[in-house]
């Protein structure tokens, strides 16, 4: 299994760290160099953590664990109107990104109100493409109790964020409610930490499932192989997004045949993945478990 962490530090000899990650069979997920400051998301085999830590100590950089790294999360609000956007929706999404997640935001078409709140089948299908969902449901307890019924149909881990400090719901974070300004006070930031840690708990079950029944190949490895075949377009940000058990590939329709032919070990990609067009964006690759595909190497 790979471990994903963030490195922050100066540019001095940082290429040595990149080379070391490559030598250990790891990947650089994101990299940004701002004058003399560098930020990198690194993925490397778990057992080589000590070696990476030593190298970072030698370079004098900082090392941060990313609890939600390698996940794609969707933040769902009842609508994209002025009542729900931009706060607290964007604050939560931004905070989850700081923990390493790739976030997407979605406003339901008819999610407002109490009795009239609905979720369409298409919306449900889009939400289920992601690793986990965060539902933000306003201030009133009575409304949240009613809206929770919409989430019960969802087949992925999810958490609910609302106003009342405590409610008898699984994976619930209170004390947020409706906001008119950015969440920047100490108490509010604590709430954001609580959201991230609750999401981590919700995802732990899914991670455990994957650990018990491992997937045929790591999404990181498949992403690397895809990017070697189809080069990302210049200026395109995150063309391929990794998920816990698959990845989202944003490519043209004519390239899909090329992708199917990519060789991963002794099998083709189409043999180890279920490839389908996403109603949201790009193509979804769900990696089959090793028990189904057999050993690749």
């Amino acid at each position: 299994m790979y471990k994903i962490m963030m490195f922050e530090g100066g540019v001095y000899k940082f290429y040595e760290l990149k080379e070391l990650v490559g030598d250990l069979g790891g990947f650089i997920l994101q990299e940004s160099v701002m004058q003399t400051e560098t930020m990198m998301h690194l993925a490397f085999p778990e057992e080589d953590e000590r070696e990476i830590r030593d190298k970072i100590k030698e370079l004098g950089g900082k090392f941060k664990e990313l609890a939600l790294a390698g996940t794609e999360i969707i933040v769902v609000v009842p609508s994209l109107g002025k009542h729900h956007a931009v706060d607290p929706m964007c604050d939560i999404a931004e905070f989850l990104r700081r923990s390493g997640a790739i976030t997407n935001m979605m406003g339901l078409a008819r999610g407002v109100g109490r009795r009239i709140a609905q979720m369409t089948t298409q919306e449900k299908r889009i939400i289920e493409e992601f690793d986990a969902a965060v539902f933000i449901f306003g201030t009133f307890e009575e409304c949240i109790e009613e809206k929770v019924k919409l989430c019960e149909k969802i087949d992925i881990p999810y958490i609910i964020v609302g106003g009342p400090s405590e409610m008898e719901l699984e994976h619930y974070v209170g004390g947020v409610g409706r906001k008119t300004a950015r969440m920047r006070n100490k108490d509010e930031i604590e709430r954001l930490y609580a959201v991230a840690s609750e999401l981590e708990k919700a995802l732990a079950e899914k991670r455990l499932d994957i650990e018990e029944d491992p997937i045929a190949a790591s999404p990181l490895f498949i992403k690397d192989m895809i990017e070697m075949t189809i080069l990302p377009k210049a200026g395109e940000e995150l063309p391929n997004v990794i998920q816990l058990d698959g990845l989202r590939v944003k490519i043209e329709e004519e390239d899909i045949e090329k992708i199917k032919e990519i060789e991963i070990g002794n099998k083709k990609l189409s043999e180890i993945c279920e490839i389908k067009k996403s109603p949201y964006t790009g193509y979804l690759l769900k990696i089959k478990s090793e028990a189904i595909t057999g050993a690749l190497f």
């Binding site: 109100g113 009133f140 009342p164």
Partner: protein, 217 residues
């Protein structure tokens, strides 16, 4: 350099205007201390009441209405999904005239508040036609007699009273939960109130709300 009599007159007018502005700001500051918009929210849980009090204050502040509203009363009934919000209109700022946004330099007008420039030009061209010429970005040349210029300076550009209710209604729409789409406004001389729900609002309910609201506005 010695100042001529015309320059002295312009300087005096400028200083007067500055003093006037200082006086207005002073009054504004004092008034701000004395008159604070009162917000009262009832009906929900403690957290909801507190949260909606903040939403009301922030929304009215963003809409630039805090000084125009004496108090706001909101009643939330999330069980039946009925929300009532009532505002009492207080003082309204005086109309903005050409004198307020310009500086006269004999036959020239210098625009001091660019925000009003399009409205000012439109109304002057509408009234005086080619006698008003825009010589620079913020400079106007007036081919008018002195008495006409005096009259021109009194021309009203914007009266906050005109769109006050519209602005209040916009703010109320922002405060009321989005799901409460059935709205019933109640308007009187110095107040604006709205009942909002996701269910039809009956006459009985309206009367009940009117009684409740009359205590506050």
């Amino acid at each position: 350099m010695r100042l001529g009599p015309e320059d002295k007159k312009a300087k005096k007018e400028y200083i007067n205007k500055l003093l006037n502005l200082c006086f207005l700001y002073k009054i504004k500051a004092i008034r701000k201390k004395v008159i604070e918009m009162e917000v009262k929210v009832e009906g929900g849980s403690d957290f909801a009441n507190e949260s909606y009090t903040k939403i009301c204050q922030d929304t009215f502040r963003d809409a630039g209405l805090r000084s125009n509203i004496d108090h706001v009363y909101m009643h939330c009934n999330p069980k039946e999904f009925v929300f009532v919000i009532a505002t009492k209109i207080g003082r309204v700022s005086r109309p903005v005239t050409v004198w307020d946004v310009t500086l006269r330099e004999e036959k020239k007008l210098r625009i001091t508040t660019e925000k009003y420039a399009p409205k000012l030009l439109a109304s002057l061209w509408d009234k005086y036609g080619e006698k008003v010429e825009q010589v620079g970005r913020l400079e106007l040349l007036l081919k008018l007699e002195d008495n006409e210029i005096e009259e021109l300076l009194k021309l009203v550009l914007y009266d906050p009273k005109d769109d006050l209710v519209t602005r209040i209604l916009y703010a109320l729409d922002t405060i009321i939960p989005e799901g409460a789409r059935v709205r019933s406004p109640m308007r009187s001389a110095n107040s604006v109130a709205i009942i909002a729900s996701e269910n039809p609002i009956g006459e009985e309910q309206k009367n009940k709300v009117e009684e409740m609201v009359s205590e506050y506005v």
